[in-house]
C-alpha cells in the first residue's frame, strides 16, 4: 500500500494518460453495456427520455387530430383511451421524471466537482430498468394491449372486474420499473451531493441546481414508495384476489386515490424543482451575477419539497370528503404559491439589477416566466374547493397542468439543453434556429393550451374521445389542434437543431458562456474522470472568483479509480474512496429484475423463482474481484 501511484508532481499529460488507463470504458459493445460513467449513463438517459418525448408528442398529435372536429373517427374509443393513457403515463413516468433525474445524473457530479456519481453501478442498473419499463409499455401498446385506464388508473375501473386482460397490469408494473430506477438515481444523487462535493464547497456554496436536485431526490425517496405500494396492491387485487380496493370486502376505492396522489402530487414537484434549478442556473450565468437571495431560494426549494406532501387531497375535492378537511387542503395547496412566488421575485430582482444577455437559454427562461406564472395562477384557482368542483376533470385542468408542466418544466429543460449542450457535446447549439424554435414552441404552446381553459369552463370533460356537434366546442378545438401543429413544428426544429449542432455546431471551449460553476472548469465534453485534479472551492461562484485560475488538490492515486469523500456540512476532505470499475452485472441484474417483474404479472410464483436470478446477479455485482477498487 505504500507503493501506490499518486498524481503528486505528475505533469498534465502524464496524469491524463494515467487517469485514462483506469477511468476509460472498454472499447466496443462490451464497453457500452458495462460502462458506469455517469456521463455515458446520463447521456443515454437524456436521449432515451427525449425519444419517449417524441413518441408521447405523436400521441398528443393523434389526440388533437381526433378532437379537431366533432364525431371524428380517426381513433376508435378503445384506441383513444389507450392513446391518452399512454400519453400521460409516458410523459410522466418515461419522459419528465427520468429526464430531470438524468440531467442530475450528468451534471450534479460535475457541478460538485467529483469524478463519478456515488454508486455508479446502481446508476447503470437504473438506466437499464428504466429502458425495460419503457419497452414494456410501448411494446404492449404496439400490440394493441396498451393500458387504457388513464395515467392515474383509478380503481375499480383498473381493478380486476372492469379491466379485462393484462392491460392494467402492464401499466402497474411499468410504474414499478420506473420507480425502481428513479429511486436508484435518487440514492446516488443524495450521496453524491452529501459526500462527494469538492473540498470547500460548503452547503451554502452549492449551486442552486444541485440544491434543487438534492430536494428532488428526497421528494423521490419519500413519494415513490407510495405509488409502488399502490400499484403492487393493484396487481395483487387483480392476480391473487386480495381486497385492498374492494368495498364489499372491507377495502376502499378512495384508498387508491389517497395512495396515488400522495405520490402523484409530489411527482409534479419532482419534475418542477429541477426545472427551477435550471432557471436559476441560466439566470445567474446570463445576468453575470449570482441569483438574488441565495438563502431564500434554498429555503423556497426545501419549502416546496415539504409542502408537496401536504396537498394531495386537492386532487380529490369532488370525492365527497369532509368539507372542513378539504378547506385545510385548500390552504396548504395555495400556500405553495408562497415559496414559488418568492423564487419568482428573487429572479425578477436578479434581472432588475443586471443587463441579461438574451441568448437562447434566456429566451426559454422568459417563456417559462410568462407561462409558468399563468399556470400557477390557475393552480391557485383549482386549489379552491368551490372553484375546483367546476374545474376538476375538465379541459381547464388539462390546460392548467400543461401550463405548469410544459411551461414550468419543459421550457426550462429546453433552455437547459441549449445551455449545457456545449458541455454535453463539445459544440454550441445553433442560436438562430434556437430563437425560432423558442418562438414557435412558446407561441404554439400558448395558442394550443390557452383555449382549453375556456373549453373547460364551457363544460368539456377531459378524456372524451369525441364530442357532439351540438356542443359549442368545435371552433376552439379546431383552433387548438391547428396550433398544436405549430407547437410540433417548434419541437421538430429543436430536434433538428440539436441533431445538426451535435455534428456541425461551432466548437465550444471549456466555458463558452462564462458561467460560474464547476462543470465549466473541465473540457467539453468532460473526460471520463471529469477533473484531472479535484477542484478546491472558495466561493459559490468559483469560476468567477478564481481570476482565471482553478485551485485544485492533489494526492489521489492514479492506479485505481479514486475520488474524494468530504464532510456533509463543510466539505472538508475525509477520505479517498475508490469508485467501482465498469461491470456487466448491473445490466444482467436489470434483465433478471425485468424478467421477474413481467413474469409476476402472470403468476405470483414468479416472485419466488424470479428472485433467484436476481440474487445471483446481485452477488456477481458485489463480489470483490481483487482489483485495487475492491480492496483498500
Amino acid at each position: 500500500m505504500t507503493h501506490d501511484r499518486r498524481d503528486t508532481g505528475l505533469g498534465d499529460l502524464a496524469l491524463e494518460a494515467a487517469l485514462r488507463r483506469v477511468w476509460a470504458a472498454a472499447h466496443g459493445l462490451w464497453g457500452l453495456l458495462a460502462t458506469v460513467d455517469h456521463k455515458a449513463i446520463g447521456r443515454r438517459y437524456i436521449a432515451t427520455a427525449f425519444g419517449f418525448l417524441i413518441l408521447g408528442g405523436l400521441l398528443a398529435l393523434a389526440m388533437r387530430w381526433q378532437l379537431s372536429h366533432p364525431e371524428a373517427r380517426l381513433l376508435d374509443p378503445d384506441r383513444y383511451n389507450q392513446v391518452f393513457t399512454m400519453h400521460g403515463s409516458n410523459m410522466m413516468f418515461l419522459f419528465a421524471v427520468p429526464v430531470m433525474e438524468a440531467m442530475g445524473v450528468y451534471f450534479v457530479p460535475l457541478m460538485v466537482g467529483t469524478r463519478n456519481i456515488a454508486f455508479p453501478r446502481l446508476n447503470a442498473f437504473s438506466y437499464w430498468v428504466y429502458l425495460a419499463g419503457g419497452l414494456l409499455l410501448w411494446g404492449a401498446f404496439l400490440l394493441e394491449m396498451g393500458p387504457d385506464v388513464g395515467w392515474f388508473a383509478y380503481v375499480p375501473l383498473s381493478g380486476p372486474q372492469y379491466s379485462a386482460g393484462k392491460r392494467a397490469d402492464i401499466w402497474a408494473q411499468m410504474i414499478t420499473f420506473t420507480e425502481i430506477s428513479a429511486l436508484a438515481v435518487a440514492v446516488g444523487l443524495v450521496v453524491t451531493v452529501f459526500k462527494q462535493r469538492a473540498p470547500g464547497m460548503t452547503l451554502d456554496r452549492m449551486p442552486l441546481f444541485v440544491w434543487a436536485m438534492l430536494v428532488t431526490a428526497f421528494v423521490v425517496i419519500l413519494a415513490m414508495p407510495a405509488v409502488v405500494t399502490a400499484s403492487t396492491a393493484l396487481i395483487l387485487d387483480r392476480l391473487v384476489g386480495t381486497h385492498f380496493f374492494n368495498p364489499a370486502e372491507g377495502g376502499d376505492v378512495l384508498l387508491w386515490q389517497h395512495l396515488f396522489w400522495f405520490f402523484g402530487h409530489p411527482e409534479v414537484y419532482i419534475i418542477f424543482i429541477p426545472a427551477v434549478g435550471m432557471v436559476s442556473t441560466i439566470i445567474a450565468t446570463f445576468c453575470r451575477r449570482p441569483v438574488f437571495g441565495y438563502l431564500a431560494m434554498v429555503l423556497a426549494l426545501v419549502g416546496i419539497g415539504l409542502l408537496a406532501f401536504g396537498l394531495w387531497v386537492h386532487h380529490m375535492f369532488t370525492t365527497g370528503l369532509p368539507r372542513l378537511g378539504e378547506s385545510f387542503f385548500t390552504a396548504s395547496s395555495m400556500a405553495i404559491a408562497v415559496p414559488s412566488g418568492l423564487q419568482i421575485f428573487c429572479w425578477l430582482a436578479t434581472l432588475w439589477g443586471a443587463r441579461p444577455r438574451l441568448a437562447v437559454p434566456m429566451l426559454y427562461v422568459l417563456a417559462f416566466l410568462f407561462t409558468f406564472v399563468l399556470g400557477g395562477m390557475t393552480g391557485v384557482m383549482v386549489a379552491s374547493v368551490p372553484l375546483d368542483t367546476q374545474l376538476h376533470d375538465s379541459y381547464f385542468v388539462v390546460a392548467h397542468f400543461h401550463y405548469v408542466l410544459i411551461g414550468g418544466a419543459v421550457f426550462p429543460l429546453l433552455g437547459a439543453i441549449h445551455y449545457w449542450f456545449p458541455k454535453l457535446t463539445g459544440r454550441m447549439m445553433g442560436a438562430r434556429p434556437g430563437r425560432w424554435e423558442c418562438l414557435l414552441v412558446f407561441a404554439g404552446f400558448n395558442l394550443t393550451f390557452f383555449p382549453m381553459h375556456i373549453l373547460g369552463l364551457w363544460g368539456m370533460p377531459r378524456r372524451v374521445y369525441t364530442y357532439q356537434p351540438e356542443l359549442p366546442w368545435a371552433g376552439l378545438n379546431l383552433f387548438a389542434s391547428l396550433s398544436a401543429v405549430l407547437l410540433a413544428a417548434g419541437f421538430l426544429l429543436f430536434f433538428w437543431n440539436a441533431w445538426r449542432s451535435a455534428r456541425h455546431g461551432a466548437p465550444a471551449g471549456e466555458n463558452p458562456w462564462g458561467a460560474p460553476t464547476l462543470e465549466w472548469a473541465t473540457a467539453s465534453p468532460p473526460p471520463p474522470w471529469n477533473f484531472t485534479r479535484i477542484p478546491v472551492v472558495g466561493s459559490a461562484s468559483p469560476l468567477w472568483d478564481s481570476m482565471g485560475e482553478l485551485t485544485v488538490a492533489e494526492g489521489l492515486r492514479t492506479d485505481r479509480r479514486e475520488l474524494l469523500v468530504t464532510s456533509v456540512m463543510d466539505a472538508t476532505p475525509e477520505a479517498r474512496e475508490s469508485s467501482p470499475q465498469d461491470s456487466i452485472w448491473p445490466l444482467l441484474a436489470a434483465i433478471a429484475t425485468s424478467v421477474m417483474l413481467v413474469w409476476s404479472i402472470f403468476t405470483p410464483w414468479a416472485v419466488v423463482w424470479g428472485s433467484i436470478p436476481i440474487a445471483v446477479t446481485l452477488i456477481g455485482w458485489f463480489w470483490p474481484r481483487g482489483t485495487p477498487e475492491d480492496e483498500s
Partner: protein, 307 residues
Amino acid sequence: MTGGWQSALAPGGSSADAILRLFWPTVALLGLIWLAVLLVLAAALLRRARPEAPRRAGAVVGAATAGTVLVVIGLTLASYLVTRPISAAADAPLIVQLRGLQWWWQATYPEEGEASGFVTANELHLPLGRPVRLELSAEDVIHSFWVPNLAGKQDMIPGRDNALTFTPTVPGVYRAQCAEFCGLQHARMALLVVVEPPEEFARWRAVQAAPATAEALAAEGRQVFERQPCGACHTVRGTGAAGRTGPDLTHLASRGTLAAGLLPMTRGALAAWIADPQTLKPGNNMPLVPLSADELQALTAWLASLR
C-alpha cells in the same frame, strides 16, 4: 361567450351562481398579479441597469412575498365562505337518487306525499326554485355528476354515498356529462336536466309514475319487444318486460335523447340505434339483436309511442 347549456359560465342554479361569483373576482385578481409580474419582467429587461442597493431589493422581495401570503389567506377565506352555503343542507328538498352505470344514468324518484315513485333514465326533471338533493351512487366504476350550469361536480363512487344539494333558479334544459373517466364510452354518457315550473314538474312526475299506454297500431311492436330478448334487460311497466340491467323504457319517448345523450329521440334514431348499437356506441352493453325490417318498423313505432 357563456357557452350555452353545458357551461359553468351561464349559471341556472344556486351553487353554480355562487361559484361564478367567486370565479370572476378570483380571475381578475390573479390576472392582475400575472400582468404585474410580466410588467416588472419587461421593465427589468428594458431598463438601463443600475447597480441596486441589495437591501432595497430585499425589502421589495419581502414585501411581494408578504403580499402573496395575504392573497393566499384572502382567497382561502373566500373559498371557505363560498363552500359553506354550497354544502349546507336544505329544507324539505326534492330527493332524487341518481346512479351512474357504464355508460348511462339511472334516476329514481322516490315516493313523496301524493306522488308515487318511479325509475327513469338519462333525464332529470327538477322543479324551479325548490332545493333538490341528489343522492349519488355508482353501480360499477367511478362516475362523476356534473351539470356545470347548476352546480359543481360530485363523484359517484362504488361503496360510498355522496349527495349534491342545490336549487335550480332559471328554467331551461341543461346538459350534464360524466366527468370522471369511466371506461370505453365515457364520452357518451350524458344526461339532460330539465328545470321547469313546479306545475309542469308535477304533471311530468304523474305521467312518469304511470305504466305505459300502448296505442293500437303499436301492439305489434310490443309483441316484438316481448318476443325478442329486449325484456331481459329493459323494463316497460305494464308489459311483461321487467329486466333491470338496462334503462327503464316505460316513457322512453318522453325523453329528449337516446342512449345517454347519444342521439335525439326520434323514430329514425331509435331504428338506427336498435339496428346497430355497437357502431354508434362501440363497447356499450346493448347487443345487436337481429330483427327483420318489419319487426324493426313495428318495434320503433311502438317505442316512439311510449310517452
